[in-house]
């Protein structure tokens, strides 16, 4: 097995993220759809998140059990560190959305380092893009509801502190592009590229270990080095998984907070 892997060694490429269909393709809203490995990971993530909160908070007790403790500590973390500092008194209204973002992305990201899966749905562009669109629609809708359509555009695109000839020309364009157009793109790319790069790093170091073991007595001494780097990167990926879930949730909260802010 080792020999087989090492002899066909090739650097990991974007082909590693493409998976074939399980079963036949079918039409969904006019698109060709099928069930594959990535969809299975998403379904698993959904089931785990639902199960955690359903069984954790179904019968809340005064002295919490293990699952209830995890669920309560998680919700408390989101409220104290993400919702409350960014949204203030409106925090309670957006807690369901932000808690879902945090836990859904966190569990999905952990599949990156889980043996047997080793691939996060976040490393496929569609998954973070849909989450970013949910965030985008939410903060725009909240802002439009609060200020009205024209009022919201004025609120996001015009900086009152700037001199008038900059405020209505260059800064107007820059603010519109950065607040309305670039925000969902950066939310998407941040999550996606982190896990794309993470998957490549893990693949390179662990495939490299096998390659060095196989390629003869002169280079096998490098195999433990490569293996140590790979193991260290697994720990780093666990940190990145938690950090990215936190950053996605807190940036969404911050965008919602900015859209809802009073006139300045």
């Amino acid at each position: 097995m080792i020999g087989l892997v090492a002899k066909v060694f090739e650097p990991p490429s974007t082909k590693d993220f493409v998976y074939g269909c399980w079963g036949g393709a079918f039409k969904l809203f006019g698109f060709d759809t099928c069930f594959n490995f990535i969809i299975m990971l998403l379904v698993l993530t959904t089931i785990i998140v639902l199960a955690l909160f359903f069984f954790g908070l179904r019968k809340p007790k005064i002295v919490p059990g293990k699952l209830q403790l995890i669920a309560e500590v998680g919700v408390d973390f989101v409220r104290e560190n993400i919702a409350a500092p960014m949204l203030g008194t409106d925090a309670a209204k957006f807690m369901p959305l932000l808690t879902t973002f945090f836990f859904f992305i966190l569990i999905a990201n952990f599949f990156e380092v889980l043996p047997g899966f080793s691939l996060s749905p976040s490393s496929r562009l569609a998954f973070p893009f849909v989450l970013a669109m949910v965030s985008w629609v939410t903060y725009n809708a909240v802002g439009i509801k609060k200020h009205g359509f024209i009022g919201y555009l004025r609120h996001t695109c015009i900086i009152p502190a700037a001199p008038w000839w900059l405020r209505y020309t260059l800064l107007l364009v820059i603010e519109f592009v950065s607040n309305i157009i670039v925000r969902p793109i950066t939310l998407t790319v941040r999550l996606w590229a982190n896990f794309l790069a993470g998957h490549f790093l893990l693949a390179i170091f662990f495939l490299g270990t096998l390659f060095f073991i196989e390629s003869g007595p002169k280079t096998w001494i490098l195999a433990p080095v490569s293996y140590a780097f790979g193991t260290g990167l697994v720990a780093f990926e666990i940190f990145v998984a938690a950090l990215q879930a936190f950053i996605f949730a807190i940036l969404s909260a911050s965008y919602i907070g900015q859209a809802m802010a009073e006139e300045h």
Partner: protein, 81 residues
């Protein structure tokens, strides 16, 4: 003649590979400097005002997220070209 064409194609692929490498390296310079300043200043703030360490850390992570996206654009584009 065909030999020359093959050589030109080879040079093209080689240049493309160099370009991919350059994108990642150049895209890391700016965010590297930015992260250094950001985290250094945050540590300074936390050391001066330990009671505000929590708030400073939260803001720092938002900044890290915003800056980091620039370097990650480089990685993403290097696979696209």
């Amino acid at each position: 003649m065909l030999h020359l064409v093959a050589q030109a194609v080879d040079v093209g692929t080689g240049l493309k590979t160099i370009g991919k490498g350059l994108i990642i390296g150049l895209a890391a310079i700016g965010p590297g400097i930015g992260l250094g300043i950001l985290i250094g200043k945050s540590v300074e703030a936390m050391a001066r005002q330990p009671e505000y360490a929590g708030q400073v850390r939260t803001t720092m992570f938002i900044g890290i997220g915003l800056i980091e996206a620039l370097a990650l654009f480089g990685i993403a584009f290097s696979f696209i070209i």
